[in-house]
Structures are given as C-alpha cells and as structure tokens.
C-alpha cells in the first residue's frame, strides 16, 4: 500500500513537471505579450532545474550532500557515500539559477526599452514597426 501511494505521488510529480513544461512552452510560443513570454521562460528554466535536481535524488534515507563535521572517520564517509544524494546536479543548478536570473533581468531591460520607445509589448505589433 505504501509503495503504491509513493508510486502515485511520483507519477503526480512527473505530471506536474510535464504540465509546467507544457504551460511554459505554450506561453513562450503562443502568448503575444513579451512580458508573459519572459514569465513563461523563467517557469521553463525553473522546471528544468527542478528536473535536474530530481535526477540526482535517491530513494530511502536521502541525506544532504554536506558532511556535518570537518574530521570524518572512514566509516562515517562510507555511510555518507551510501546515503547522501547526488551533489553534481545541485552544483550545475546553483550556477544555472543565477545565470537564469541575470538573463531574465537582461530580457526585462530589453522589454522595458521596447515599451519606452514603441509603446507596445505586443510582438505582433512590434515586428511591424520601423525605426
């Protein structure tokens, strides 16, 4: 029973991730407003980051990949190796989050400037402008 519930929860987690990707792809491709495109893009980035972290997860007694002291014994290290989650995805994601944030800031700067100069955030109108 417990395994069935946990399996159902994992499938729910997958559905959430795929649904978020679908929503963000829809937002990027279909919505004409540039600000909504940027919001959708940041949702897509966060979903991808969540998925990468999730790939490094470990079922059963997962611990953070940080050892609580600086003088571990070899036995403690063996235990640590067998229980901690994968630190590699977390390492990739922490830099990705900050890059994502700065690129979003850059895109928002472009969008604000577009609005200032042309008075619209609608890409359908902006492409027809000359100047």
């Amino acid at each position: 029973m417990t395994s069935l519930i946990s399996q159902a929860l994992w499938i729910y987690f997958y559905i959430t991730l795929i649904g978020l990707i679908a929503v963000s792809v829809y937002g990027i491709v279909v919505r004409p407003n540039l600000l909504k495109k940027i919001i959708a893009l940041s949702i897509l980035g966060d979903t991808a980051n969540t998925f990468i972290i999730f790939l490094g997860f470990r079922r059963g007694g997962a611990a953070v990949p940080i050892f609580p002291s600086i003088k571990p014994t070899p036995e403690e290290l063996l235990w640590f190796k067998e229980t901690a989650v994968d630190p590699l995805p977390q390492c990739l994601v922490i830099t990705a989050i900050v890059i994502n944030m700065s690129v979003t800031a850059f895109l928002i700067a472009l969008a604000i400037q577009l609005y200032r100069l042309y008075g619209t955030l609608d890409v359908r109108k902006a492409v027809r402008l000359r100047g």
Binding site: G19, F54, P65, L77, D86, L92, I94, I97, I99, A109
Partner: protein
C-alpha cells in the same frame, strides 16, 4: 487596440502539439521510460565526490571541504563556474548597456520621489527585515564551504535587501546611503577580478619553478603547491572561502546595479529621450 493579425490555425496546431507531447510523455513515464528515476543508488561519479571531498586519508583527491556541492563548484569543476561567472558578468553588462542614459553619470531622484514610499509600519518592519537579510547573507557567504550555501546563494540573498528597500522606501533610501550604480559597478568588477586572480594565482606561482596548475586548490601528487586548508580555528577549505566571498560581492553588487537601474523613474527617461 490596433489591427491584429489572427493566427488561429497555427495556435490550434501548437496547442494540439503540446497536448500530444504531454500525453505521450505521460504514457512513456507510466510505462517506465525513466526507470522510475529516484533509484536507491546514485552514479559512481557522485560517490567519488561524496567519498573524497573531505577524506583525510586520501588527500591527493580531496577538496578540503565537507560540503560536496561547494567543493565541486570551486574545485573539481572550477572551470565550469569560472565561465558561468563570466556569462553572469556579461548579462549584467548587457542590461546596463540597454539602459544607458547619455550625459547623465548617475541618476538622483531626490526631487522627483521625495515623500514617496509605503506607510510607517511597512518601513519599520522592512528595516528590521533588511538587517536580518544582510546578516544571513553574509553568514551564507562566509560559511559557504562548511554549511549549505556559497557565493551565488549569498549574492542572490543580499540583492533581496536592495529590492525590499526600493519597494518600501523608494530609491532615495539607497541614494542617501551612497548606494549608487557609480559605487556598485567598481565593487562588482573587484569581485570578478578577485575570482580571476584566485584562479590564475597558482598558474602565476608556477612561473617561479613550483609545479601547479590554474585553478588549483589542494596539493596533488603531480603538483606540489596548494592553498592551506585552514588557519587555526578558521577552516578556509583552501581558496574556496575566498572564492565564495568574491562571488558574493560580484553577484550581490551586480544585482544591486540591475535593481537600481530598473528603479529609475520614467520621468527621467522621458526627459532624456525627449518624449
């Protein structure tokens, strides 16, 4: 509203495509395509990092840091982080270049925004929260090599203090405390320069005859030189403490510049652009 070209067919196709993707991926997942990803076991490479990051008996592989993530960010996969730092640096430069105001070195909003801001209750609470945010982010930065955290996280956290100040007090609060783009830009460059120098330092030392390589942290059998892991009671994890601090300065100052530029009132742009 002006004339808008309708594109119903393409939108229907995209919608159907996304729905199809959703359903097919779901079927694939339920059929076990990902192999129910959270396994009991992890990759051997991850086990290597977990086992050797603070292993005192195998010091030729260690990074002298109990935090596996931080030791990977700044030691095992340091080049990756260096390039990501440069991407971050360039993205901020891009945003600043888009918002460049000609003939205005730094914008002061004293005359325009004076008397603006939220109520006294919000301001008082925001002051307290800002103090907490500053303390916590500095703690995240300097303990980054021992506890969860590091330079990137601390820099993002401290930039929230700027954002809160702008939201509750308006830009004048920061201007009165001399936090301007003119000050924060050189600080950011100093942080990035610090990272670059720390990465290049072992390579420069190698010119004096010692064997060492660029972005080296701890001594290796094939390169004897290395940073000392700790001074007295302070555990620095070689150069990771300094890397974290420099990254904290670079990221925090970078985002502060961005938020300061975003909070310039529209009136000033209208004056400059002549519209």
């Amino acid at each position: 509203m002006g004339v808008i070209v309708k594109r119903p067919y393409s939108e229907v196709i995209i919608g159907l495509g996304v729905a199809l993707l959703l359903v097919l991926t779901l079927f694939a997942v339920i059929a076990g395509a990902t192999g129910f990803t959270p396994k009991e076991d992890i990759r051997p490479l991850a086990k290597f990092y977990l086992y050797y990051a603070i292993n005192w008996n195998e010091r030729k592989y260690w990074a002298a840091s109990p935090e596996a993530v931080n030791s990977m960010v700044w030691d095992y996969r340091g080049y990756d982080t260096l390039y990501e730092t440069s991407v971050f640096f360039l993205a901020i430069i891009g945003a600043i270049a888009v918002f460049r105001i000609p003939k205005v070195k730094d914008v002061f909003t004293k005359g325009i925004l004076s008397g603006k801001g939220l109520s006294l209750i919000v301001k008082t609470i925001t002051k307290l929260v800002i103090a907490f945010v500053l303390i916590v982010s500095i703690a995240i930065a300097v303990h980054g090599n021992l506890t969860p955290g590091g330079g990137f996280q601390a820099g993002s956290a401290i930039s929230i203090a700027t954002l809160l100040a702008i939201a509750a007090f308006s830009r004048i609060f920061l201007e009165e405390r001399k936090i301007t783009t003119k000050l924060m830009l050189p600080i950011r460059v100093l942080g990035v320069l610090g990272i670059g120098l720390l990465a290049l330092a072992p390579g420069l030392i190698a010119l004096s005859g010692v064997t060492s390589f660029v972005i080296q942290n701890q001594p290796k059998p094939w390169a004897n030189w290395g940073f000392i892991p700790g001074i007295g009671p302070f555990w620095l994890s070689g150069n990771q403490f300094f890397y974290n601090f420099c990254e904290f300065v670079a990221v925090g100052a970078g985002f502060t510049v961005i938020y300061l530029i975003f909070s310039i009132p529209e009136l000033i742009y209208k004056k400059v652009l002549g519209k």
